[in-house]
């Protein structure tokens, strides 16, 4: 299981990084989403993997997984939503203002429509 999770983190990160290096805003935002998935799972995995031991206090439970990374990742998920939303809207406003969705400053006006 550890190998599956680790490789999944790697795949998510690689996809995210590749998309992050594209020249238009939309792939960059999507790339950041991928990277977020990867980072969140990575942080979560720092509490190690445990099956069938949710951190809900129960007298019948023998053990619990580490709850702290979960709490951190939970807020990270919500915050990353806020970040994605802000970035998307920023990209949209930039596109509306300049008529181009390139991320490079100098190259912006080439494809501009008037």
């Amino acid at each position: 299981m550890e190998f599956l999770v680790a490789s999944a983190i790697g795949i998510l990160t690689a996809t995210g990084v590749y998309l992050l290096l594209r020249g238009r805003t939309f792939p960059v935002v999507v790339g950041l989403s991928f990277l977020t998935y990867g980072v969140n799972v990575f942080l979560f995995a720092m509490g190690r993997l445990t099956l069938d031991a949710p951190p809900i206090i129960d007298e019948a439970a023998a053990s619990y997984t580490d709850p702290l990374p979960q709490a951190l990742v939970l807020t990270a998920i919500v915050i990353s939503f806020g970040m994605t939303a802000l970035l998307v809207v920023l990209a949209l406003r930039g596109y509306l203002e300049r008529g181009s969705d390139r991320v490079a400053l100098g190259a912006a006006e080439e494809g501009a429509e008037t």
Partner: protein, 974 residues
């Protein structure tokens, strides 16, 4: 050095208040200006007067030789104490600052015109006054540095007070650049001093003079300290900023350049005299700099046509005089320097104010146009003439006495084996002083009026000439009775400078026929001759090449700005791709270096079994990611694949014992997908292929390396055991936090403060989104949005099935949200998830029936919801204070409700409610505003009702809506 006396301890606070009052009082003038200029001036003057009174209370102790002081520990780790002490030197300077400050305030009230914001002026002036007092009264070198920088900043504000004048702004910038640079050097010097002495406490440092001078760090420390002092006191070659600072209003010039700002450098030299003076290096550097400054500035002053420029260079010259005396290192020279500080402050402040009066009354300060002012403004002219005579060093005025002492010292000074250099140059400088003073006098005030003046001059109101009169009275009185009036003050100040009793020397006009008297005579006669030869001398000066300091300075600034621009242009070419690539490669390189030095074997923690579900999910995730990589130019497809990945991740959380995360991830996924769809509707649907094969393979290489590195790191960590810090959380969740869902308890209780910060960040993000999607898009954005062509889509704007389904879902989802919220403390759920679920329920109404329809039915303002949520969460935390607990300490109790059973009421639940409301507000605000933008872009008319099909004949808008909700309700019941 006297220890503090018992009486002084009682007045600890009073000593600190001398410095602090001007800072506190600086708030008042901008407020009181509403009550009129007179009140405003009175308030400002009262602040200064109170400080002055507090200072004078200490006078008897100071004159007895005690050092009243007050000290509090501030940052003991750094050696920084809030420590103030009043020895003779500090008393002298503080008195000058406050006394002349008082006169300046009175003068400024009449000088500044109706259009000038007087409140701001007095606020700046008081800030500056406080900073200056801080420098002179600091008992700790680090504290002195703080006040030193404060004078730099506040003088910048004062010099640039007339911000509409370009010269004012340039002069202020130049002063800031030069003195700020010196301030940096001084920081280095003081830190070195503290390093040598082992303390920043002034008394400790001063007591270790021998150790400091013997230290190998002495020379670097000396150079840095002198840089700080020379830039501040405008010593050659840093003298150029001071004349440009003359663009300030005259009260500022009179204050900064007679008694305060430029004297700070000299004060520093005097203050550190016991610790640093007396060595060859000190003597060679300081005395020669002073001598050169004195001569060069006096020469330049002679040829300045602007009254204030002439006085400015004269100031530089006199500062050079004091610097030279302090540099000589003898006690008598130090005494002469101290005495000249008093004398210069009195006559120069008076002269600046006189120049201001002339400017104010005649409309010009150009000497070539003035002349004969004695006839039209007799009071001003008389006062100015007396002060000028003192500046020239003519008996029986105070300037004569200290100049005589200076010449006497110079006459005996042997510089590097040379016994004529100092006497000759000092006499020459005195000669130039006489010449420019005489020019000021004869060309400005005596003789006949030369040109037509912009306005007809007459004497100003008493408020303007009275301060000058007070100063001139001092000039005359000290000149006639020097020992009686100034002797005591000079003695205690000299004792404080030298760290030993002052030499027995009587300040007097007549010491017999001494070398200095002869030198004085030569200077006076030569100066008058030089003035008579003014025209040829000026031609000679015009003919000789001379460096223009301002041009050099501007050139230097231009070159450094250009260099900085070139550097940053090279590093920052505007390409995000490039920045990201550099950062990623750097991160990979750092990781590679760490990897090379580590162990490369997996750990020995038992591996978890692989389930078949996990394999399926892994294949899905890998496939979706690969698909996103390959198909990323088709944006809609990318979005679909991204959602698939999100789904897999949330299922993975579920399988790995994290039900809370699974719930959060899945609801965030829904919201994000809707958000991205909305944005994509307005953005281009395709990404063109732009990067070449080379760049793509480079990016792929970076991506693979990054992915492999992260995967390896994750694997390495996961296969190793660890010490968790969560045992506390698991053990205390139920007894301490009152909940069994440990994740939720951590969020709302153990680490509630983090959560509090996070919902604030979320709220800020939502407000930023709102701002970006401005209600009134203008310009290019508005035009573009109107012309965005919509691709052919479904002809149903509001499909019937969707409308009905979302109406049914609304109450159900809200109930689910409430359920998730209530059980969150004990079972998976909580404010975050409940907020997201409720938000989805509302967003669906927007999706189904359009923005306009949904907006009209939204009863709550989303901004207020965000504010309310943060407020509730914050107040919950504050409530803990009422019970004497730290912020966000939670309490809980169990309540038995009929039917529902045992319900636990925890204060954490109120906090969670705040989280819930904030998240709800944030999500709905963000998405609703995006959909509002969509509605701007729709070219074809959209049906106004909730759905496309009108169910009943429209008798009016209301009927349609009622029928729709009836149908919805009916549908709900089926």
């Amino acid at each position: 050095m006297q220890r503090r006396g018992p009486g002084a301890i009682a007045s600890l606070m009073n000593i600190a208040l001398i410095v602090l009052l001007p800072f506190i009082g600086a708030i008042l003038p901008p407020l009181m200006i509403r009550a009129g200029r007179a009140i405003c001036t009175t308030v400002t003057a009262c602040t200064t007067l109170t400080s002055l009174a507090l200072l004078l209370v200490q006078a008897p102790a100071v004159f007895r030789g005690e050092v009243p002081s007050a000290r509090w520990e501030w940052l003991p780790q750094l050696g920084l104490d809030a420590s103030f002490r009043i020895d003779g030197l500090a008393f002298l300077f503080a008195f000058l600052i406050l006394f002349i400050g008082l006169l300046i305030i009175l003068y400024a009230r009449h000088y500044l015109s109706r259009e000038d914001p007087v409140g701001r002026f007095f606020a700046f002036l008081l800030l500056f006054q406080g900073a200056m007092l801080g420098i002179v009264l600091s008992g700790n070198l680090l504290l002195l540095l703080v006040f030193w920088e404060l004078t730099t900043l506040s003088s910048f504000l004062l010099i640039g007070y007339w911000r509409h004048l370009p010269e004012g702004r340039q002069g202020a910038r130049m002063a800031l650049a030069v003195t700020g640079l010196g301030g940096l050097a001084l920081i280095g010097g003081v830190l070195l001093l503290g390093q040598i002495a082992g303390s920043f406490d002034l008394e400790t440092v001063l007591a270790q003079g021998e150790a400091i001078k013997a230290s190998p760090l002495y020379l670097p420390a000396l150079v840095l300290v002198l840089l700080g002092a020379f830039t501040k006191s405008a010593q050659f070659p840093f003298h150029f900023w001071l004349p440009h600072a003359m663009a300030a209003p005259t009260p500022v010039s009179a204050y900064l350049h007679s008694a305060t700002m430029v004297k700070a450098g000299i004060f520093l030299l005097a203050r550190l005299w016991p610790a640093m003076a007396g060595t060859d290096a000190w003597f060679l550097a300081v005395s020669l700099t002073g001598l050169l400054t004195m001569g060069i500035a006096a020469w330049i002053a002679l040829f300045k046509d602007d009254l204030k420029a002439l006085l400015a260079f004269s100031t530089v010259s006199h500062l050079g005089l004091v610097t030279m005396l302090l540099g000589m290192g003898t006690k008598l020279a130090a005494m002469a320097g101290i005495f000249h500080i008093i004398n210069h402050a009195s006559f120069k402040a008076g002269l600046f104010m006189s120049a201001g009066i002339v400017d104010h009354e005649t409309g010009t300060r150009d000497i070539r146009r003035l002349g004969g002012l004695a006839h039209v403004m007799p009071i001003t002219a008389t006062l100015a003439i007396l002060a000028t005579l003192s500046m020239a060093g003519i008996p029986p005025f105070n300037g004569f006495i200290s100049k005589e002492m200076m010449l006497e010292e110079a006459a005996h000074t042997v510089y590097a084996g040379n016994d004529w250099l100092f006497p000759v140059l000092a006499t020459l400088a005195a000669l130039f002083s006489v010449a420019y003073s005489a020019r000021f006098l004869f060309h400005g005030f005596l003789g006949e009026t030369r040109g037509p003046l912009p306005s007809k001059p007459h004497d100003p109101p008493a408020g303007m000439w009275l301060p000058v009169a007070v100063l001139v009275a001092l000039v005359v009185a000290i000149g006639l009775f020097p020992e009686q009036l100034a002797g005591g003050l000079v003695d205690v100040a000299t004792a404080a400078v030298t760290g030993a009793p002052a030499p027995a020397y009587e300040l007097a006009l007549w010491h017999g026929v001494t070398p200095s008297l002869l030198m004085s005579g030569v200077a006076v006669a030569g100066g008058l001759v030089l003035l008579a030869l003014y025209r040829p001398a000026n031609n000679l000066r015009e003919a000789t090449p001379r460096p223009e300091a301002k041009r050099l300075f501007d050139g230097l600034i231009r070159v450094s700005v250009a260099a900085a621009a070139q550097l940053s242009d090279r590093l920052q070419n505007g390409s995000l791709q490039r920045y990201l690539a550099i950062m990623l490669v750097a991160a990979i390189a750092v990781g590679a270096v760490a990897f090379a030095g580590g162990v490369h074997l997996p750990g020995d923690r038992p591996i978890q079994p692989v389930t078949s579900t996990a394999v399926v999910l892994w294949v899905l995730l890998a496939g979706a990611s690969l698909g996103a990589l390959l198909l990323h130019r088709n944006r809609l497809m990318t979005l679909i694949l991204t959602s698939l990945v999100g789904l897999v991740v949330s299922l993975a959380f579920l399988g790995l014992s994290a039900p809370d995360l699974a719930l959060t991830q899945i609801s965030v996924e829904v919201v994000t997908t809707i958000l991205m769809l909305l944005a994509l509707n307005l953005l281009p649907k395709e990404t063109p292929r732009e990067s070449g094969a080379g760049q793509r393979s480079r990016d792929l290489g970076i991506a693979v390396l990054a992915g492999a590195g992260v995967a390896a790191a994750a694997f390495a960590v996961m296969t190793r055991g660890f010490e968790t810090i969560s045992d506390f959380h698991l053990a205390q969740a139920k007894p301490g936090g009152g909940g069994t869902n440990v994740v939720n308890v951590i969020l709302v209780d153990f680490r509630g403060y983090d959560t509090f910060g996070e919902i604030i960040v979320l709220g800020i993000a939502a407000l930023a989104i709102f701002a970006l999607l401005d209600r009134n898009l203008r310009g290019a954005a508005a035009r573009r949005i109107a012309t965005i062509g919509r691709v052919t889509e479904s002809m149903d704007a509001h499909p019937l099935i969707l409308v009905v389904a979302t109406r049914v879902l609304l109450p159900l989802m809200l109930m689910v949200a409430a359920f998730i919220f209530l059980r969150g403390h004990n079972q998976p759920g909580g404010g975050f998830i409940a907020g997201l679920v409720a938000a989805i329920a509302f967003i669906l109404q927007y999706v189904a029936s359009g923005f306009a329809w949904a907006r009209d039915r939204a009863h709550y303002d989303h901004h207020s919801m965000i504010g309310f949520g943060v407020l509730v969460a914050g107040l919950t935390g504050v409530a803990a204070w009422i019970f004497g607990q730290p912020f966000l300490t939670s309490a809980f109790t169990h309540v038995h409700l009929p039917l529902i059973g045992d319900v636990e009421i925890a204060s954490a639940m109120a906090f969670d409610l705040g989280v819930f409301v904030t998240v709800l507000g944030v999500v709905v605000l963000a998405l609703a505003n995006l959909s509002r933008i969509q509605s701007l872009a729709q070219p074809e008319p959209v049906p106004a009702g909730p759905m496309d099909i009108v169910l009943e004949p429209p008798a009016g808008g209301e009927t349609v809506e009622t029928s729709a909700s009836t149908v919805t309700a009916a549908g709900g019941r089926q």
